[in-house]
């Protein structure tokens, strides 16, 4: 049984189709990453899983039970649009949210998470006195107390400093170790690559990628050269078998055509400038994302 099973779900808002005939199966105990450009349908899909929105067509099952509109204590949800009662103190607020979902007192669990995320000093303070990072930690706790079987996190790392992001990342991975299924959306491809067992990309309401990182990369093959060379971009024009160059600043990514010989590319490049790094690799998730959804202008078209 999957944690979440979405079958042929469509959701429209007026004339806009936000999610179009989507099917998806999220295995239990996995971390499932939702990626896609803004407005592609990630949040709408998450809201449908939590029953905030109802699909126009199709069905959604969570742990084998079709979602009918009632809220389930099995699901914890951290929405993208963060908001907390600003005049409530942190601990009573978390106890309120926890009791609302779990139907029981959650004082001990709240205290445990407050300590774990270093919020003890702020537990009695009003939410309005917290920094953005601390507010996000509070909201994260609200999504996981009492511990649900499925956690849905919409952009959990956006706006966090590296220390806070590490704390949340560690907490998410800890949840997975305890068997909790995690669905998270992110615009940070490194997060998706490093944390997610499965990656799902939605673009204009349709599923365009779904699988493990390896399986997704395998679809594209080894077609990328990552190069660092003195002079950078100016020496990369007209390389044989290279149809696109993506400038990353200190290094560049070259996309090879099917007939491209990387040895020939290296030979030509060495003849032009001093090469400090040259790697042949599968495309990064970022590159795949951009290939699917990025505007042509982001890349330098070469002859």
């Amino acid at each position: 049984m999957h944690a979440v099973e979405i079958r042929n779900v469509t959701k429209t808002f007026g004339a806009v189709t936000a999610v179009d005939d989507l099917s998806l199966a999220v295995p239990q105990g996995s971390v499932y990453g939702f990626i896609g450009p803004n407005g592609s349908g990630k949040t709408t899909t998450m809201r449908m899983i939590t029953s905030i929105f109802y699909p126009d067509r199709g069905t959604i099952h969570v742990f084998g039970k079709q979602m009918s509109g009632a809220r389930s204590e099995l699901i914890g949800y951290l929405p993208e649009e963060r908001g907390l009662y600003r005049k409530m103190a942190v601990r009573p607020l978390l106890e309120f949210y926890g009791e609302l979902r779990g139907g029981r007192k959650v004082t001990a669990e709240v205290d445990g998470w407050i300590q774990r995320l270093n919020l003890s000093k702020w537990a009695s303070q009003k939410v309005q006195t917290l920094s953005k990072g601390m507010s996000q930690k509070v909201q994260f706790i609200a999504a996981v107390v009492p511990e649900p079987k499925l956690v849905i996190l919409d952009e959990p790392f956006s706006g966090l400093d590296p220390v806070s992001a590490d704390a949340i990342r560690s907490a998410v991975l800890d949840l997975r170790r305890r068997g909790v299924t995690v669905i998270l959306s992110t615009h940070d491809m490194r997060v998706a690559e490093s944390m997610c067992d499965y990656i799902f990309m939605i673009f204009r309401g349709k599923k365009v990628l779904d699988g493990t990182l390896t399986s997704i990369q395998d679809r594209y093959g080894i077609d990328t050269i990552q190069v660092a060379a003195e002079g950078g971009l100016q020496f990369l024009e007209g390389l044989p078998g290279v149809d696109r160059v993506r400038d990353l600043g200190q290094m560049q990514e070259l996309r090879m055509t099917a007939a491209c010989d990387p040895q020939e590319v290296l030979r030509v490049l060495i003849s032009r400038t001093r090469v400090t790094s040259f790697s042949i690799m599968k495309p990064s998730l970022h590159d795949i994302f951009v290939r699917i959804a990025g505007p042509e202008a982001e890349e330098t078209q070469v002859a």
Binding site: R71, E81, F96, Y97, L100
Partner: protein
């Protein structure tokens, strides 16, 4: 239900712990009763400056009698009988002979009124002494009427005051012309006041007949109007914040977090239940306060205990329907500014009864009063007012209207929940009435 109660508990505690709630408990009655308090204060500080009135008497015989009657009225009404403090303006008269050019005289006197030398001038027409049998047979529109020229406000009581001495004076002249001696005038013209008394009733326990008691303003006006005012005030104070509270929750992005934990219906009903609890808390404060004050004044018997159950039923129903409506409207707004534009829709069910209460009090069982009080939006305030008025209402009306109110409240909550669910996560311009209807129908 558990989630509704939890949300209600949080919202209720968050409301009653604020300073605004405590301040509102005191300020609201002052604001709502302010107009009546103002009238009472103004009555205690009357304008006692002398009012100079000129009389142009075209009968040639009435002026002196009118002036005499006015002086007697002055002597009677000028001072409070207990405190001997002057409580009314003194009317000072001067009699002027009529000019041949009546219009020129009227203009000259009008100028004196404009300059403040005169408060008004009266013109007693030649036919006014015997208006039923005018000897001069004038076709003038003012024939048979004493003209009072003044620039005093429409609600100034001068015209009403002057009517007494003018008629008294004219009657004295008529009596004199009939040969009645002046010593009989007081007896002939004596007025007998008509006193309003309650109905006589029988004591159920002792079987004795209870005597009627004198009915004052407190019985006939203050208690019924006070009950309606109190109900309207608590309803408005409890339901108006709902609109901005929902909009604020939406603007501060609190709503989606809550919607992950509770259904829109649970969220809305939690908020509505909290508002009902706040209204019950406020009403307990006012009802107990009023009871204590009336008891201290020895007027505890005035308390309409029999109406209290109706008061609370109507209060709960009214707050529920208005709060549900407010939550639906608030869900459709993206900012407090949007919400302010829609606030008038919420105030109508409370303000309309305030506008028509005088009509209802004049004819509590008239067609207008009955129809309006059977309309569920206005039933709580108007039916309560009619029930509190002497004579009451037919027995079936409160029950039928209660059934209509409960059905209407249920319908409002149902429609509001559907609107709330659709609108709560929407952003952009505020909804039109057609949008609200469409969301309520289609969900």
């Amino acid at each position: 239900m558990r989630r509704i109660l939890l949300i209600a508990k949080r919202d209720y505690l968050a409301t009653i712990r604020t300073k605004a709630f405590l301040v509102g408990l005191v300020v609201a009655p002052v604001l709502f009763g302010g107009g009546f308090l103002g009238i009472a204060l103004l009555k205690s500080k009357p304008d006692i400056k002398d009012r100079h009135v000129a009389i142009v008497d075209r009968t040639g015989v009435a002026a002196s009698a009118v002036i005499q009657a006015a002086q007697e009225s002055n002597a009677k009404d000028l001072f409070d009988k207990v405190t001997h403090r002057q409580i009314a303006a003194r009317y000072v008269f001067e009699s002027l002979p009529p000019d041949a050019d009546a219009n020129a005289q009227r203009l000259a006197l009008s100028d004196r009124v404009r300059s403040g030398q005169l408060f008004a001038f009266l013109e007693i027409g030649a036919d006014d002494l015997h208006p039923r049998h005018p000897p001069h047979g004038s076709n003038d529109a003012t024939a048979g009427k004493v003209a009072c020229y003044t620039n005093a406000g429409a609600f100034d009581d001068a015209r009403g005051w002057l009517e007494g001495p003018v008629n008294d004076g004219l009657r004295r002249v008529r009596l004199a012309q009939l040969g009645v001696g002046a010593s009989h005038f007081d007896d002939v013209l004596a007025e007998v006041p008509v006193e309003r008394l309650s109905l006589v009733s029988k004591d159920v326990k002792t079987g004795q007949i209870r005597e009627a008691h004198k009915k004052g303003e407190l019985d006939d006006f203050a208690i019924p109007f006070g009950l309606m005012l109190l109900l309207g005030m608590i309803v408005l104070v409890s339901s108006a914040p709902m609109l901005s509270a929902v909009t604020e929750d939406k603007a501060q992005r609190i709503v989606e977090m809550l919607l992950g934990l509770a259904t829109p219906f649970e969220l809305m009903m939690g908020k509505v239940l909290a508002a009902v609890c706040v209204s019950l808390t406020s009403s307990a404060f006012y009802v107990i306060g009023c009871a204590l004050v009336l008891q201290a004044l020895g007027m505890a018997g005035m308390l309409p205990f029999a109406l209290l159950p109706w008061f609370y039923i109507y209060l709960i129903a009214d707050v529920t329907m208005l709060c549900a409506f407010a939550a639906a409207l608030g869900a459709g707004c993206s900012s407090p500014q949007d919400a302010q534009q829609l606030a008038i829709l919420l105030m109508a069910p409370v303000m309309v009864p305030y506008f028509v209460f005088a009509v209802v009090m004049q004819q509590p069982n008239g067609a207008i009063a009955t129809t309006l009080s059977l309309f569920p939006m206005f039933t709580p305030m108007l039916m309560l007012l009619r029930m509190a008025l002497p004579g009451g209402v037919p027995v079936w009306q409160p029950w039928v209207s209660l059934a209509a109110v409960l059905a209407w409240t249920f319908g409002m909550v149902w429609a509001a929940a559907r609107i709330f669910r659709v609108a709560i996560l929407m952003q952009g311009k505020p909804p039109k009435l057609a949008d609200l209807v469409r969301w309520a129908v289609r969900g």
